[in-house]
């Protein structure tokens, strides 16, 4: 069961402004039946260019209906310039917050509002911009970049919660991760990701780090590293290839292998060479 705020429940059970404005000044349609939620948003302006009426029709879950209802209340009395500034975060705040898995409902509200304003200004309906990343829900890289930037997202799960991308077959997870990495910069705080590792996870991570990163690098100099054993935070390794006879191998061990493993796995690691 979702933890909805009283305000979400209220806007779901007693939605405001349900319906259609026949002579609307702007209409925005987003979502689809197959995606599981859809919203059509209408607004009507007064003589001063302020929104005097807004209505909606929504197919979707409780938070989709509540977000739509909230949106119609929020925009009333605003000029289009002011309305344009409403973010999905504002909609969620208005409702006293939404469960994180439901943030996409607030994004849907913001999207419908934008579309309706674009429609009013007579601008052509935007073609799909960017390239489709998530095939299951038809989400583009630009949409993902936008939610990552605006909401300071840092994980694939969060992106899925906000725009659904990655919530289907999962084939696009690598691509989403790349987008997040690019935005956050390549220096990802890896240590933060792994606060407490079980022994098994630790060994696996060490193995993977050696295979994926350290060995490909050592290979350039015809060397390689073999994991011998892990005892708590003691990592025992053996050099092979040209490293085995290289005088600089203790330097490589401390300044490259150990420091890299500390970054990738956990900062407590001590790496030592065994025969």
């Amino acid at each position: 069961m979702w933890e909805y705020t009283d305000k979400v429940k209220d806007h779901f059970l007693n939605p405001r402004n349900v319906g259609v404005i026949e002579d609307a000044d702007g209409v925005g349609e987003v979502g689809s039946l197959s995606c599981g939620d859809a919203l059509t948003f209408y607004f009507k302006l007064d003589e001063n260019g302020k929104i005097k009426d807004a209505k909606f029709q929504t197919f979707g879950c409780a938070s989709a209906i509540a977000s739509s209802s909230a949106l119609t209340e929020m925009v009333k009395g605003l000029t289009l310039e002011e309305a344009k500034k409403i973010t999905n975060e504002n909609i969620a705040e208005y409702l006293g917050g939404l469960p994180k898995e439901k943030m996409h409902c607030s994004v849907m509200g913001r999207d419908a509002l934008e579309k309706a304003i674009t429609c009013h200004l007579g601008e052509p309906e935007k073609e799909i911009e960017g390239e489709i990343v998530c095939e299951c829900f038809g989400v583009t890289d630009l949409e993902i970049k936008r939610v990552v930037n605006e909401n300071h997202l840092s994980t694939i799960e969060e992106v899925t919660d906000y725009v659904k991308a990655g919530g289907g077959c999962g084939n696009c997870h690598d691509r989403i991760q790349e987008i997040i990495d690019t935005i956050l910069g390549t220096e990802r705080p890896v240590m933060k990701k792994v606060p407490s590792l079980t022994n098994l996870q630790k060994i696996k991570l060490i193995e993977e780090s050696i295979e994926r990163e350290i060995n490909p690098n050592l290979k350039k100099d015809a060397g390689r590293l073999e994991l011998v054993d892990v005892d708590g935070n003691r990592v025992m390794v053996r050099f092979g290839g040209s490293c085995a006879s290289c005088v600089k191998s203790p330097v490589t061990l401390k300044h490259y292998v150990e420091s890299r493993l500390r970054e990738l796995v956990t900062p407590e690691l001590e790496v030592e060479e065994v025969q």
Binding site: L33, L39, T58, F59, C61, A62, I65, G168
Partner: protein, 393 residues
Amino acid sequence: MNVIYLDNNATTKVAPEVVDAMLPYLSEHYGNPSSMHSFGGNVAENIKEARENVANLIGATADEIVFTSCGTESDSTAIRAAVESNPDRKHIITSRVEHPAVKNLYETLSKKGYRVTFVPVDGQGILDLDYLYSNLSNDTAVVSLMWANNETGVIFPIEEISQKIKERGIVFHTDAVQAVGKIPIDINKTGVDLLSLSGHKLHAPKGIGVLYIRRGTKFSPFMIGGHQERGRRGGTENVASIVALGKAAELAQKHLDEDGYEHIGRLRDKLETSLLTRISHSMVNGDREHRLLNTTSIAFEYVEGEAILLMMNEHGICASSGSACTSGSLEPSHVLRAMGVPFTAAHGSIRYSLSRYTTAEEIDTVIEKTPPIIERLRSMSPFWKEAVELAAV
């Protein structure tokens, strides 16, 4: 507000007789059944009786019954044991509509190098038997198929299937969590080697399950420890819950013998027919003939399941949905998708599951309260008007 509980495939009310039977084992009879003194040893007698009751319910013998902590543990134990006992075989078979307890284990095994065949179902949820049989091979280690589906109630012909699989010398496991206690089962008329059942689906408490292991089936334990359960499942017995399950099994048998499920079936049919008649653009998911008598999954097109459930909740009515929003994922249930239920319907599917405690008055209330809810949500839906116009053409 009175609760109208139509979510019995999720869990059931613990029968009052069952509570009475188990309580003394939470207070005065706290002995360990493995102890040498009679204070503990007497408890072993009660476990023995419970084991016989459970065995009777499925036509097994007591020594084929192993108590576990839940249906999931039984499934995991059975499938892992089958795979480990056949180390040379690297192919495993199941269906596309299994409970996550089996489905996710198969996906894990697939990542570990096992070749997995997921047998499809048709639009009615009926298993494609030709597909199943044509995929059996000398490399197949285990076939695991549910006896009855938790979402639609559709029953697979396990007697027939298991005999065929047995002829091929392949281990057969069935997740019978939804079937045991709801349909008569005589395990010796089947070729089933391993069967899982769960206490809390038949009016026993949560935290107790059973794995049936046919005599002679190769087995390796999942929980390794003491000699409990003849070394097939280590760990001190959950005495109170075992006694509870024994009592629940006895009651389920009595209920089946008295044709109690015919009564539940009549209530279910009344609910189903009335809702289909009163609500347009609605349909039943799954085959209506080969189905548990307590279950119906009804799709209300153009509305979303979570919204329906929360509005029903306002009237104290409890049910489940196969919609995306309730599953915690973004896609509707894998069962409805495997059946090819269109998205318009899958998102608005509600499962009602009854029990022997369901009353005619409760069903009447649900029949009265549901149509206005669907109507209200449809009036909010941007697709509804269009759908009605389309239907009129």
